[in-house]
Amino acid sequence: MKPPEVSITVTDLSLRFPVYGVDAKSLKKNLARVTVGGRLGSSNTGATEVTALSNISFNLRPGDRLGLVGHNGSGKTTLLRALSGAYEPDEGQIEVRGRIAALLDLSLGIDPSATGVDNIRLRGRIAGMSAKEIEGKMDEIAAFSGLGPFLAMPMKTYSAGMQARLAFAVATAVEADVLLMDEWISVGDAEFKKLAHRRLLNLVERAGILVLASHDTQLLRLYCNKVMRMEGGIASEVKDIRRIDELLAAA
């Protein structure tokens, strides 16, 4: 058997959120015109539902770095979570070959009352590293975070920027083929941003595929070579990043 190539194949993906404890009827009158959000409606059983993704299909191959753009609530985060394997499709199919690293939320698995070092271990375990792998990477992660003696202190004594540094350092320490990121790269001070940028580029180079959701077109131009626009859960075609303005104007 040949080693599986890195790829993402999404076919006719639809995803609906059931919303419990809300009466759809009381919502309907407020639905006249909305620019944000997915479509609200009722399922055949009468429960309220939000259609976050409908009929999305695309293909990504090694070297593809896809930027997702779209209004608030257009389904970018939902698509990333579906690609990470957390949300199951209601219809259609998602196939991802290669190790997935989802960097959607920096605070994932972080326990504020535990020390920096403990949090590195915890987060590493969640990301799928073995205890041994984590110990092997500990020095590198510690050095990159630049937190020095603070690593022995509880996370709750950190400033927001310090927390972000640590979380970023661990989150990007994983070996991955497919990297999923939701907008959060703007962390830390200027110096750290530069470091983070270099590390990300490095990671993106090693990872075969990147999917990055962002509202910042500058950022997308920097990291991505392709772009897809989401609108109310419907995706445009995947286009070259140079046509991003055209894509945004087409609304």
Binding site: Y20, A82, S84, E88, P89, E91, Q93, L122, I126
Partner: protein, 277 residues
């Protein structure tokens, strides 16, 4: 079908498919058993961070309860302390395992919400986390059991193997109850309250503090109480008595039926659980 290298997610494809996906989740939780263990251990460590005695605080409060109830009730019931104290000690410690695993089961998925909504981690891993955490706590409280065994010289008559078998059967049953509570609590937020009330009621209805001598063996009042069977299969052998074989059979059947039920519920609701949260 699924590995770290390959992920396939599809829409519903019939009941059989849903069951195979649930089975896959279970298998993955075995592959990632280190994770469940790390999380459980982390829970214990972090709950008691900054305290000197850690989980032994609970052990101490249990120990005091054992002393108090052991002395008082022995007098009230007119039983010798040497007979009653070990009985109560084991009752309190093992019932603690039962109520802990079930009550905390309500939190299993709710607490893991963040991780479940952005990773492909197996949901079973979080069930094991709750069970393992309670076993770690039990290991601390075992100090009390060892103490009564030594002080009252129980080691002369006790038999370990049947007690271990009872413990294994008990944990098998507690796990499915805990998981069922986890799924139900994710969907309906009043379940934790309900479960807590049931467990509070159960501690009095189960022979934890009192001896079931007033009832003839196999009285329906006892036979229908699963906690009675769990407790008696672990406690009786340690006290050097023989537990009723029926209790082992009841537990074994309950484990099989309970897991069949829980697994089916999981197979059907698995996709939705993350949206309940």
């Amino acid at each position: 079908m699924e590995s770290a290298q390959h992920m396939l997610r599809t829409g519903r494809r019939g009941t059989l498919f849903e069951f195979s996906m649930a089975l896959r989740d279970l298998a993955m939780s075995w592959d990632r058993r280190g994770l469940a263990w790390s999380l459980a251990w982390h829970d214990v460590v972090s709950r008691y961070r900054g305290s000197i005695l850690g989980p032994f605080w609970i052990t101490i409060s249990m120990g005091l309860m054992v002393l108090g109830i052991g002395l008082l009730y022995a007098r009230l019931f007119g039983i010798s302390v040497a007979e009653f104290m070990p009985y109560v000690a084991m009752g309190i410690v093992f019932f603690g395992l039962m109520s802990g695993t079930i009550n905390e089961g309500c939190e299993t998925f709710v607490q893991a919400r963040n991780m479940l909504s952005q990773t492909a981690l197996p949901m079973f891993a979080f069930v094991w986390r709750t069970v393992l955490r309670n076993l770690i706590n039990l290991a601390h409280h075992a100090v009390i059991i060892v103490a009564v065994i030594v002080v009252f010289g129980l080691w002369r008559e006790m038999v370990i193997l049947p007690a271990l078998a009872g413990l294994v059967l008990t944990v098998l049953n507690l796990s499915w109850i805990s998981m069922l509570a986890a799924i139900a609590s994710a969907r309906f937020r009043d379940i934790p309250q309900f479960v807590m009330s049931v467990m509070q009621f159960a501690i009095f209805m189960t022979p934890v503090f009192w001896k079931p001598d007033a009832f003839p063996d196999r009285h329906a009042f006892l036979t229908l109480n699963p906690f009675y069977h769990m407790l008696t299969t672990i406690r009786a052998p340690l006290l050097g008595e023989q537990a009723d074989g029926l209790s082992y059979i009841v537990l074994a059947i309950a484990a099989v039926l309970g897991w069949a039920l829980t697994f089916s519920v999981f197979a059907v609701t698995r996709r939705r659980i993350v949206h309940y949260l």
